[in-house]
């Protein structure tokens, strides 16, 4: 092992923690009906669920990026009364049980919800639609992006931004040439985390959007349903979800060094 020496008990606890996470995945892989794995994960309903999951998670991630970046900027770069409270509220979906999130969305966007009447009058009915799935996913995934980006913004500090501004750069130029490149790694990892969280979303979707093949039945909901009659299919699909999550996280880690380079370039350009 390279790196700084750590007390042995740290290594023991770390190994214990790692095993705690890895063993269940191994146990699941051992339960997979490998000879039929391909058939199980490429069945019609499995394909429909996977495609729907990827589509909705991408849309939800896009919503997170569009709204999450400005939210993180406001939280990190401004100060106003009640900001602490606002931050806690924005991060609420992180700690809420997803079912509770689903109920909250139902009471907001549902047919009898706070905005349901107005939406209905506008001819928008999201009950049992794919849009409801995207909303559920974005709701639970948004805090991941805001949290990691705000942390990075605070760590990066305002030094370069101030220098850029004194050299005559406008707010948009500072944001584009200094701030965003500085926090690009965090932005990438936050985006990937949001995507992964959206992909795994279950409780809010179940409560708010329903479950219909090709429309609202995402991969986690398909797994939940298959488990009733076909545990083999459920296990195979679960493993598929794990593999997708690993690939996504792996991509994020590969992107990081590039991001760091961009930061250096951004800093040079900004300075």
């Amino acid at each position: 092992m390279t790196g700084r020496a750590l007390p042995r008990w740290v290594l023991v606890l770390a190994a214990g923690g790692a095993l705690f996470v890895i063993l269940p995945v191994v146990a699941m892989a051992l339960r997979v009906d490998w000879p039929n794995f391909l058939a199980l994960v490429t069945s019609g309903s499995a394909r429909a669920a996977l495609l729907l999951s990827l589509r909705t998670s991408l849309a939800a991630t896009l919503l997170c990026v569009v709204f999450g970046i400005p939210m993180a900027l406001v939280l990190a770069r401004t100060s106003f009364r009640g900001q602490g409270l606002l931050r806690s509220l924005v991060l609420l979906p992180l700690v809420l049980p997803p079912v509770v999130g689903g109920l909250a969305l139902l009471y907001t966007f549902g047919r009898r919800g706070l905005l349901g009447g107005s939406l209905n009058a506008a001819g928008i009915d999201i009950a049992f639609s794919t849009a409801a799935v995207v909303l559920s996913q974005a709701f639970v995934a948004l805090p991941f992006l805001v949290l990691s980006l705000e942390g990075a913004l605070r760590t990066a500090g305002t030094r370069y931004e101030v220098i850029g501004a004194t050299l005559g750069a406008g707010p948009w130029t500072v944001l584009r040439r200094i701030t965003v490149p500085l926090v690009l790694p965090a932005l990438v990892s936050g985006t990937v985390l949001s995507f992964a969280r959206a992909l795994g979303e279950f409780g809010a979707t179940l409560t708010f959007a329903g479950s219909l093949e090709g429309t609202t039945r995402t991969l986690p909901l398909e797994i939940y349903l298959q488990r009733e009659t076909d545990p083999d299919a459920a296990v195979a699909l679960s493993l598929l979800l794990v593999v997708i999550a690993l690939v996504v996280v792996g991509i994020a880690h590969r992107v990081r060094p590039l991001g760091s380079g961009a930061v250096a370039r951004g800093v040079r350009a900004g300075g």
């Binding site: 009898r112 009950a127 049992f128 479950s211 219909l212 093949e213």
Partner: protein, 267 residues
């Protein structure tokens, strides 16, 4: 670990397993007031019952009556979907009695060799249409629920209430095009009580339990599609006598009154 570790290191290395075992011991008990029946030692006078979610109210009452008639005996209840419970039992959960909402799930456990003796059918349930109290889509029959534009929710075919729904559709010749196929009847009911859906097929007992929150509409063809609830005690029962007497009690005349009041039919 190398031999150079100091005494402090060692004591810490020992402390971890001790700490973990303590955590496991403290959290393994089912609840503070429930005696543990999962151990190898027969803990007489306690029955752990795994029962289908739809039995929650009835079985809570039945357990109370059973405890009253058998002083010193405790009934520990766990409710969930029948399929979930069967999976937990197959994976070694310490249950003494299992009450399922369908015969198929019970048969699965029987095939696994988990049942001591044959299951007894103690109740039955039929489907009904449930609509929000103000009935926004003006539903009066199953055919109305199939009208275009009506948001109807049903159970997925994979779960017992969904299999029954498919049979009702076949018998009535009405082809529903649901906006959602839920994995549990509770989720169907939830979509009705929240007003998201216009109609849904749920069990008669669900309509009864929901009270004012939904309006029940009888479906004639549903009377012929009966869902049977079997109960059985398990081979691993810690106290087979207590488990057997609880099964007999649930299948007996006193329990009949409670089950009928909840909307269940005869077994």
């Amino acid at each position: 670990m190398r031999g150079s570790s100091t005494g402090r290191d060692r004591s810490r290395a020992v402390a971890l397993p001790v700490l973990l075992s303590a955590v496991v011991l403290v959290t393994a008990g089912r609840s503070a007031d429930a005696p543990d029946t999962g151990g190898a030692v027969s803990d007489s006078g306690s029955v752990t019952v795994f029962a289908a979610a739809s039995l929650r109210d009835s079985f809570t009452e039945l357990a109370r009556q059973f405890e009253q008639e058998n002083p010193g005996t405790r009934v520990v209840l766990t409710f969930a979907g029948s399929s979930d419970l069967a999976t937990q039992i197959s994976e070694g959960a310490p249950a003494d009695v299992f009450a399922s909402a369908d015969t198929r799930t019970m048969a699965r456990l029987q095939d696994d060799g988990r049942l001591a003796g044959d299951p007894v059918d103690f109740a039955s349930n039929t489907l009904e249409l449930a609509v929000p109290p103000d009935n926004p889509a003006d539903i009066t029959s199953l055919a109305d629920a199939a009208r275009p534009g009506v948001k109807t929710v049903v159970c997925a075919q994979q779960v017992p209430c969904g299999a029954a729904t498919a049979q009702v559709e076949e018998l009535s010749g009405v082809r529903l095009s649901p906006v959602s196929e839920e994995a549990s009847v509770t989720d169907v009911l939830g979509k009705i009580t929240s007003g998201q859906a216009d109609a849904g097929l749920v069990y008669a007992t669900d309509v009864q339990r929901a009270g004012e929150a939904v309006l029940g509409i009888g479906v004639p063809e549903a009377a012929d599609v009966v869902n049977t609830y079997p109960i059985a005690f398990l081979t691993d029962a810690a106290d087979p006598d207590a488990a057997r007497s609880f099964v007999d009690f649930v299948a007996g005349p006193e329990a009949r009154v409670v089950l009928e009041a909840a909307g269940f039919g005869a077994g």
